[in-house]
Subunit: 352 residues, 4 copies
């Protein structure tokens, strides 16, 4: 495709581990876009930007303050890779400044705050606002979506999906537990979005969750767990089962399965690192993707390209598979995730 | 191993589809045993026995009546492959007649009746009574048990297990629904037993179940479903997730997964029919085991051999992996299965 | 099936490692047959038989001398598991004594001797003589044969097949090298037979072979190698590629592939030990079959049953897939194997 | 990494199917490079470039004539995706014009012409000249190379490698047969390069090849085949087996295997299209990569990035795994490929 003459100016906000990856994608690998600005309150992150990203005049303006970035006329859209607790207000600010918004998941850990953002966004129907559930852009998930849409498995009625990380003995996520919202809001939201997306966006009616601390005792003080399981019932007899884990030995094993009346399919069930198989005294094996970024590297890139293309053609929300998760999708993911946490804590099923 | 001079005399009771398979195994493939008797109230089943099983003097005495078989002094142990509703009383009758008992699962669909059998069996400690959860004898399940026991995956804390049948448009199981006890008591009991066995027989504390009718509307009048999912919490933070289905397109896909603190393993995750892979315009594929008997053919045979060996060496109940499910195991499977059905019907978690 | 009244009396000759396996199969697992006699010149092997096999009157007569076994009127068929150099004469002796013959491969390491046996066997058309290329009876190979016969891959024109053993540091096969005939006659004969069987028994026209000593230097003095590769051209543009190895790290990995004009198939390409997959820090893996007996355990059993059934119904040679390799098949395997050895030694293609 | 201030100016020559892919990569996806020029004698290909590639001043100058492109001072390196028969002279012309050269394989179908290019290139040691054996840059092949270099499989001594295309009933390659050099020079050169690269660049000593026409009778008039097999012996007892096919039903199945003294590994043995597995009445299957570009899409991109990086840091030839195939590597691939064709035609082994 030929890029339009005017490149879309993007402003990335937050240059932590994931922010850096986004910034590099936006700077070098998204035709039709230019990384116009980058923002971080951390001097070392800005130093990284100065060293790694293109130099002016082609490189991004660097800001320590979000308000300054919003004031930059070269910025057509903001790309938020900031702490979850900031997402909602930053989205609202961006919309008010006339910018399109891409924001990493979750929209918010609070249902009410999600609703507030949706209400505000309704006032700016000409602006895109997308939440980064990147699995929708993974080529294999996309292929599965297309096959289901083409009727290859009949009517889909059950999704099994999991987000499971390789065990991290440093316990980063234990320290993160205070603000993560718990394993279901941090990890399972991806699976919730996958399930809704692949089942045709049914409304959830009831959930049940359970969990355990297998290795990381430090989670107990936050009421959190390192392995959780859940069932979600949707209207129309549709079902989902979820598994989330922080303690896998073999790698990041985030995969999904969809079962329909005429067949089923799995996406990524063996999280192969690549196409190599090794034969030795331990048998025949493949190595696994160590973390979610390795697994979903392509998805992050396709997600960015799709967002830019979507803004350029002026697509509205909800234009189907090609577009990412809408604010409404993100609200539903948070609503279900919050209910899962409530079920975990109460030991009871929660009706939505 | 050298068989002892005196072969164990077995009396198979019930010669339906599964009973015939057991009878052939017992007649031809179990060293140390002899098929001394067979019993069925159906004339066509007895005719099958006359044609297929060895002839006297080496072949079995044939009976139309269970009481007559129990009176046969050549019968050391009975092998019950009868309707579930008869199991409990037939076991009691066999024990009272001084016979060891192997009985197909389930022990009973009623917890109280299970308990009655246990109480009676306690009076005959010298007699074996085993319920046929054959997966324990499948070589792959056995290998998994051994690997877990050897600590290869650390401390196991989560089992995911499923019993899923290829769709049968004839709807045999719809007609069977009135007496099957529902999908959880009919199918998931296998997974319950697998989970308890592989997790070290923890006590279940709470369950939740949900389900749907994907294809077989006729099940609704029985309050039954054709696809069900469930979570079972055990003491000590152990967990299980179950899936049962009557509607798979690709075959009988009964498999299990065990996750531990240092690794995990799956048993039969791709239900390959054999070692052939086919390449054609549809891709690369393997065919799947069409039904549980094809999948567990070896397990049924090993189960029979283990029972015979166990009686011959006079093993008591609960001697570990080598022995099959005890009456107490079967009681637990029924107790949990009944709770799953109750949860399905109430929409609430059920505490055990 | 119902066994006929008169069981076929079998006499096993040779009770080495493989002979013991055959003897146990014949004694306990082949309906319609009885192990009437066993023969070994080694006292310790006869002692094993006395301890392990059924006792008289049901157990076999034991002989130290082959001539005595041939004189036993209870023996209807002999089962030769003896050193290769004895096969030809023992087959002739058995036929002259009026016995059917099953003989482990190879028929002989010499083409002329193979031809002599065929000439003699032609005088006894009522007697069965089968050479034990057991892969034909492996359920997966059988399924592949049936799929090809049904046209599922179009016209088959290329077979790739390998016989590769797990490395044995004890070097048994080095000591065995003096009499094995070399790696192609010892191992590749299986692949030759598979290729001919699956390609419709075409005539070989030209071969080329090459090889190397990867680990076992002791083979050099015998002109032998521990890894060999070969190409065999057949009439009608059909082709085969072979690989033989003594040095695999992961197990016995004997597998085959057939490519046709409309598809292809592989048999056993991943030599899974069973249905277990293990997840740990090294990735996801399956263990492999350690040796050919583990891989082909079922094949040996089906082979024995098929032989017995074939004799009982009076089948002649060449009755298709169900029957094993004929003497003519074995002659061809030896002829091609000898040509491969000649090509290895000369470095030139050999025309047949 | 931070690009240097001065971007490397690339000039792509040839805008056929593969040339278009290269041009898009060079224009949009290679940091540090700019597509300065493009050349094709075909007006429709230039029209494609005007529509698809960036516009001036950022886009490439377009030329109908190669000499004009060589005269463009913005062009630092040429990227030849032209007919094989033109490669040698175009490389020489580029070197004489002071340009670095990347050229699609093969260097030439004639050994003498390869040697002429090497002699000429020796006069320009400061210029890079690389032949596009892209598999070296496929992430899985790269991982295999690294694992072997790290000793994970011991000493590698056998490579099995294949290049097999999905059958094309249009018969493009039949029309192409007159100039392709035959299946071994067209396809197997990739496998030859892989084998040499993974075995430590040993010298080939003898080859043997055979083949057949399975489907495309039109090849016979060119002395070509649609399925070919070959063995290549290297010094030091190293071996390779090759398979090339134009007639696969399931897709492009180009894969390799390396066997060492302590293990082995395969690269791409199941040519999965992606991470989706489908369950239906035909079993469990994955779709396959339809053609080499889908299979090696990443490899082409990494190849381009590596070439640019290599020129920018002034790397000389032969700097190991990171660099692509040298002219000397390409000469060896042609030398062996020519010998394979000669062996096919003569029916004899060919000594090198």
């Amino acid at each position: 495709m030929k890029p339009v003459a005017r490149r879309l100016g993007l402003g990335v906000v937050g240059l932590g581990r994931l922010g850096k990856r986004h910034a590099e994608n936006l700077a070098y690998r998204v035709p039709g876009a230019t990384l116009a600005a980058a923002c971080s309150p951390m001097e070392d992150e800005l130093a990284w930007a100065r060293e790694t990203l293109p130099e002016p005049p082609h490189g991004p303006h660097l800001y320590a303050d979000y308000a300054d970035l919003l004031a930059d006329p070269q910025v057509d859209a903001v790309w938020l890779v900031t702490p979850s607790s900031l997402h909602a207000q930053q989205i609202v600010d961006a919309l008010r400044a006339g910018k399109h918004v891409f924001c990493e998941k979750p929209l918010s850990l609070e249902v009410a705050e999600c609703e507030r953002v949706l209400a505000e966004a309704a006032r700016y129907p000409h602006l895109q606002a997308t939440i980064g559930f990147m699995r929708r852009f993974d080529p294999s998930y996309k292929d599965a979506f297309d096959k289901i849409a083409a009727g290859q498995i009949g009517r889909p009625f059950l999704v099994r999906s999991q987000t499971t990380d390789q065990n991290d003995n440093d316990g980063f996520f234990v320290r993160f537990a205070a603000t993560s919202g718990g394993i279901f809001l941090d990890c399972t939201v991806h699976d919730i979005d996958v399930a809704r997306w692949l089942l045709g966006k049914p409304r959830a009616t009831r959930v049940f969750a359970a969990g355990t601390v297998a290795l990381h005792e430090g989670l107990r003080e936050f009421g959190d767990i390192d392995n959780g399981v859940a069932i979600c019932e949707f209207e129309g007899g549709k079902l989902a089962m979820f598994y989330a884990s922080r303690t896998q030995a073999h790698g990041n094993d985030s995969h999904s399965e969809v079962i329909g009346t005429a067949g089923g399919l799995t996406i990524g069930r063996n999280p192969r690192a690549n196409r190599v198989e090794i034969y030795d005294a331990s048998g025949i094996r493949n190595e696994c993707t160590p973390n979610f970024f390795d697994r979903f590297e392509d998805a992050f890139l396709h997600e960015a390209r799709a967002f830019v293309a979507s803004v350029q053609i002026g697509a509205g929300e909800g234009d189907g598979a090609q577009s990412g998760a809408t604010l409404a999708d993100a609200l539903e993911a948070t609503r279900i995730g919050v209910a899962l946490r409530e079920s975990l804590q109460s030991g009871q099923a929660v009706t939505l």
